[in-house]
């Protein structure tokens, strides 16, 4: 660049040619660019399959946007059957099918000439013959091509005849392949699924000592197989319900038909069939969609990744929902005692499991109430504290500049931050965060005089107790509501906590989960068979949960150990 150019660039007006890249998705939030798409709003209108393969091909090509969709494969071939040749079409999605099965059990028997498809139509099958007046009347079975193909030609274990495009498309989308044959107005939906999926592993969030170590995976068929192996009875029904207008996610409603209450089954299916959502991607979303409303946001359905827990609840008379693509099963209905129970309770002796249940109950109270009680006692009721403890607290707080409520809120929020950070940290440095965050920061804060050591202990005990709650959602609920009790304790001491506790208990007693009161069995004075919080010894567990009104009341004989 010469001096002239330099000077002209300094003093002349040179507009900037380069425009800054400015992409806006929506220019004006009030005007719609596109009219509402009808995707997912197809309704129940069904289109029948056409007898001509060419027409079917064009229809499906436009449906699947074949020109731009890269993994949809259309395979034309000539099908041999009974000496005749038919134009046939196979449609599948690359990556979702098992190519070996497709080649060996579908293409080969249909394309290759073999003795199966070389019959000619002269050999009709005679069903019956009657002779009268020297005239022989024979009833001959007419040749039925669809039956012939499905019964004789295709040695594949699961093959279904469908007559509408919606059914065949849903089959293709789930990983099956579709076979269209010229002159037939039906198509075959053939099971050739072969996509990669995660193997059965140990449960990551519900660890038990004595129970089985298998957990659910994403594929619904694997999950149903896991449950079937536990229940081992033909009365286990697994009904299919599709949820989601676009995704049409497969959900399985499982129950044991001689046990589960019919009203409960009907209610579950009613709620699932009346969901107007575009997509359903996880069991958590389904849980929120079909739960009753709860003012306290307590979880109302149990989520589990253990098949043994699901099977045990199935045998109790409850209804399980499995969602394709989610390794969690939903158990309906869920009551308060269930959220404080672990699957290991029934594997131990009653005395030990009742002891751990008692510990969990205390942990729940501590998680909810301890910080609130601490602030209530130090703000209004310090006479409860023994004198020496009071002096320790005063001494430890001598240099702290903040009031107790501020300290407590800062520590609680830091603890929540550490917990949230711990979830996202890559595993090599995961434990380090726990050590760095909790120990070092806490110790440093005490040494710097920002917080008092007694408050660190209170927050640490509360945090530890919250980890003792078996159910993740319920633990979350307690963690959130402890802030309400902290505020109430600060506001007016024990009066606030008592009133808050009362409103909390009333809201809990008022909520229902699928028609069952949420707090059934909590009070020891309320006698509902089989649903007390503490477990009786093994030989006394005769009754199923009374609140379910299952079809069979007892699950054990009066004397179950007949050998004694």
């Amino acid at each position: 660049m010469g001096l002239k150019d330099f000077l002209s660039s300094l003093f002349n007006y040179t507009p900037n040619h380069k425009e800054t890249y400015n992409f806006n998705l929506v220019e004006d939030l009030n005007t719609k660019i596109y009219p509402d798409s009808t995707l997912g709003n197809e309704g129940i209108k069904k289109t029948n399959i056409f007898p001509s393969v060419t027409v079917n091909t064009d229809y499906l090509k436009s449906k699947y946007n074949l020109l731009i969709n890269s993994d949809i494969i259309f395979r034309d071939f000539i099908l041999n059957a009974r000496g005749k040749q038919y134009h046939a079409l196979l449609i599948f999605i690359d990556g979702m099918i098992n190519t070996e099965i497709m080649n060996e059990f579908i293409l080969e028997p249909l394309m290759m000439r073999n003795k199966n498809n070389l019959y000619d139509n002269s050999q009709n099958r005679v069903i019956s013959e009657a002779v009268a007046n020297n005239i022989t009347v024979r009833k001959v079975k007419k040749f039925n091509l669809p039956n012939y193909i499905s019964s004789c030609l295709v040695p594949q274990n699961a093959i279904k005849q469908v007559s509408t495009f919606e059914d065949i498309i849903s089959g293709i989308n789930s990983g099956n392949c579709a076979l269209f044959v010229d002159t037939l107005d039906i198509a075959f939906d053939i099971e050739v699924k072969g996509f990669k999926q995660r193997g059965i592993e140990k449960p990551s969030n519900e660890i038990v000592i004595k129970g089985p170590h298998e957990s659910f995976v994403e594929n619904i068929r694997t999950n149903t197989s896991l449950i079937r192996r536990f229940v081992n009875n033909e009365n286990l029904i697994i009904e299919n319900v599709n949820v989601g207008n676009i995704t049409k996610t497969k959900c399985g409603v499982c129950y044991i038909s001689g046990l589960a209450n019919e009203d409960l089954i009907a209610e579950v299916k009613f709620r699932m069939n009346n969901l107007d959502v575009d997509s359903l991607l996880s069991a958590g979303q389904l849980e929120q969609l079909i739960s009753d409303s709860s003012p306290l946001n307590t979880p109302q359905l149990i989520s589990t990744e253990r098949p043994d827990k699901s099977a045990s609840y199935l045998l109790d008379g409850r209804v399980i929902i499995l969602v394709n693509g989610s390794p969690y099963a939903i158990i309906t209905p869920g009551i308060l005692s269930d959220f404080l129970s672990s699957p290991d309770d029934k594997n131990q002796k009653a005395v030990f499991s009742n002891f751990t249940k008692f510990i969990r109950l205390i942990a729940a109270f501590i998680t909810l109430l301890l910080p609130g009680l601490y602030i209530a006692v130090t703000s209004f009721h310090q006479e409860i504290l023994p004198t020496e403890l009071l002096f320790s607290i005063l001494a430890s707080r001598a240099n702290v500049p903040f009031p107790i409520i501020f300290e407590l809120l800062v520590l609680e929020l830091s603890f929540e931050l550490i917990r949230e950070a711990g979830l996202r940290v890559p595993s090599p440095i995961g434990p380090t965060i726990g050590i760095v965050g909790a120990l070092v920061m806490g110790q440093a804060a005490v040494s710097a005089g920002i917080v008092s050591p007694i408050l660190i202990i209170v927050v640490a005990i509360t945090g530890t107790a919250s980890f003792a709650i078996p159910d993740y959602s319920f633990g979350f609920h307690l963690r959130v509501y402890r802030f309400v009790f902290i505020f109430l304790g600060y506001l007016c001491g024990f009066l606030g906590i008592a009133l808050g506790l009362f409103v909390y208990m009333i809201s809990m007693c008022d909520s229902k989960s699928f028609g069952v009161p949420f707090t059934v069995g909590v009070s020891p004075l309320e006698k509902v068979k089989g649903s007390s919080y503490f477990l009786p010894p093994m030989e006394k567990r005769e009754y199923r949960s009374g609140f379910l009104n299952a079809k069979k009341e007892t699950k054990q004989g009066h004397i179950s150990m007949k050998w004694k």
Binding site: E383, S392, Y490
Partner: protein
Amino acid sequence: MPKKLFKKIFIVILIIMLLLAFSKSYSTLNIDNLSVVVAMGIDVSDKNHLQISFQFTNASSVSESGTTEQAPSIIYSVDASSISAGINLINTYIGKSVNLSHCKVITFSEEIASRGISDEIYTLINDTQIRPSTNIVISKTSARYYLEHSKPLFENLITKYYEVFSASGSYTGFTANATIGDFFDSLICHSCEPYGILGGVTNNSTEYTGSSNSENDSTTKSNASSLSGQSTAENTGLAVFKDDVLVGELNSIETLCFSIIRNQVDGFLISAPNPNKANSYIDLHVTPLVTPKIKVNILNGTPYITVDCRFTGRIYSMEDGSDYLDSNMLNQISNSCNSYLESILTEYLYKTSKALNSDINGFGKTARSHFLTLDEFYNYNWSEKYKDSFFKVTVNSSIRSSSLLTES
């Protein structure tokens, strides 16, 4: 929706209102704003007002590293016309608000106790902060002097010492756990009289009181003991009141008798005369077997009180040539112990009735069973009739053996 918005605004306003309303109480009761009084002392000052002393402990000296130094105590005194006025003045002086919830000891001087302390007791009981289990000490010296010399020997915090010293009565019998709750109960009750712990400071006086039957036993009381050492407060003996006025004192052996009758002692040590040797004594550790049986009969309008005690004991002292497994020997020692205990108990009971006319033992409560209605009892006027009482004490003790050695 405007209705929902209105509801939310209403809730926010309500919360702010309640926060403001309760924050005043919060600032009064929050521990950051409190200075904790551990003991109080009440004296008479020059202008016939009260001199009220407050003892505080510096809490910051109690650090988490576990210091072995004693936490220093700070005493402030103020002249005021009443206790509440005194608290008011101290609040102004100190800055932090005074809190009496952890006050362990309330000390009255002998002077003010002789004048009558019912007003102060009523005021203190009416206070929501004072615990009913706070000890009452009547100090032979001034209350402030007593508090200044109240230094624990083995504890770091003075509150621990205050909690523990009154409990020593359960194994010696030389002091009792006199609380303000009991004091108030007895004050308004028509059938018993209040008492307080007698406090004093060692090495302060040479007064020595003896008793005719107990030349060898400890007959000390506070401010007149033979202890030597660091000048600290001592709490031996009881102060006896009639209504709210101090009328007399009990020395250690008399306090032991009081504790025996009230069943407040678990075991005690006495020196009974040796049956085989004159001018010689055997030390026995005696434990009550049952609560003493007390019967009150009204004969010709005067009370006739029988006290029946049962003890078991072991011999503590040994001397050369003694054989304590011999049943005759044990019987003789038991009889000696019985007669000794009967004599000291009788002497004590007659002192309370004749000399002091104060039923601190609570015999009036047992006497009530003789009356059908409350009016009859009030008309009888127990507190005046007590000085005419007759007593009969029966002691039944069985000395089982000596401790480790059986003979020497």
